[in-house]
Subunit: 274 residues, 2 copies
Amino acid sequence: MPNRRAVFFISDRTGITAEALGNSLLTQFDGIDFKRTTIPFVDSPEAADRALAQIADAATTDGRRPIVISSIVDEALSLRVRQSNALVLDFFQIFIAPLEQEFGFKSSHAAGRSHGLRNSQEYFSRIEAINFTLAHDDGQSTKELHRAEVILVGVSRCGKTPTSLYLGLQCGIRCANFPLTPDDFGRGALPDSLLPYREKLFGLTIAPDRLRAIRQERRPDSQYASAEQCKSEVAAAERLMEAAAVPMLNTSTKSIEELATTILLQRRLDRHIF
Amino acid sequence: MPNRRAVFFISDRTGITAEALGNSLLTQFDGIDFKRTTIPFVDSPEAADRALAQIADAATTDGRRPIVISSIVDEALSLRVRQSNALVLDFFQIFIAPLEQEFGFKSSHAAGRSHGLRNSQEYFSRIEAINFTLAHDDGQSTKELHRAEVILVGVSRCGKTPTSLYLGLQCGIRCANFPLTPDDFGRGALPDSLLPYREKLFGLTIAPDRLRAIRQERRPDSQYASAEQCKSEVAAAERLMEAAAVPMLNTSTKSIEELATTILLQRRLDRHIF
């Protein structure tokens, strides 16, 4: 395994930030087969020693030292992890000093504040956004649409549901979504229930070939998944959205994160959870 | 505003990693009113200059230099941002050099790989996990339960749905969830449809007071939200799960991220998406 390398994401809490940071860096190195392991909740000397043992094992197996991306607030524990036989990059240790100097006081060095439960209000508003998004998925309900911060529209399977869920769960945004269907294309107009909320609408569109591949997974060899149907639905939906001046994003080459970020930016919405 | 400080998360892509890293650091500094702004898609000199203008404005308004947490792969653009009147912490610039030295070759310096659309297979498996989770929310379906990687059980409103969605959307895990109801408590047994999958079950429980507050938001002053009902349901659910040796987590003081991380760890599941 000449190009294999073990990578450990180690944290005193969930490890989600260490994973995000580490994966972002690793994507820059092609040709290495990274074997990723997250070790969360390293908040005691015993847990640190167990992590060190895993790191040492990987070093022995691979014949080369692992990479450790760590985020440990406690200095003694961080030091213990940094003594492992690995390249250890601890972002907390590197970044906290310049911030302490800038602010003129010492940080609290309290673990578990990120991705932890900070306060009930934030929890409730996040849960409320998730519930709103679920209740308004796929045009299920038009009740309380005035409370939506954004309403996604587009043909079936163009990416509305995952994008809505991401906005609800990760950003705390109340996001409804509505399918545009052959019915609407026949009438040549957006669904009536959406008309009062035109300024909240955001359109998703998709390359017909990609829509076909996605629908094919869902209902193989159906009329719904046919090349012709996908092509005509996409064209009709785009005409409808253009006529109604609904801003539009093509989901074919964008990740859910890129779609959500672009929608927040264009709609000038701030995430409600951090 | 003596304790106000502007913070910018700047990235050539979504900014999600910069936000996670930055927020993780900022939670360590109490008593400062951070005003957060994310500027994503800074991938041209013009976009960098617009970001610099925003930073300069904030410095003037606040009378002190902002904090910039940045993640920009392009060296010239990163340099431009680092020349702003701010404390700039660019994690990409800081961490890529030791990794290049370790691996013995230069990184690709290609923007947009993190939180971007890497390949169709990853996209499909993520969408499939989301669809599975939605189709199996709240015991809606027992079809294809054998394909679940984990099945959450617990009383209504104890946190099953948000945790399931997080596991589906953020980890690509096929997670079903089933409510434990007074029916099950009367019979003194888990729902029959779950019995074949006992090794996939994971229980969520909750402090009765917290359950009451959550149900009260949903159905104010109902029997369902009464202190007595919440207390007896939680006790009965815990007895049922203990008798069936289902591992159990208390959601009262844990974030969705902490719950998901603990479930992955205890069930020895790896996230399917990075």
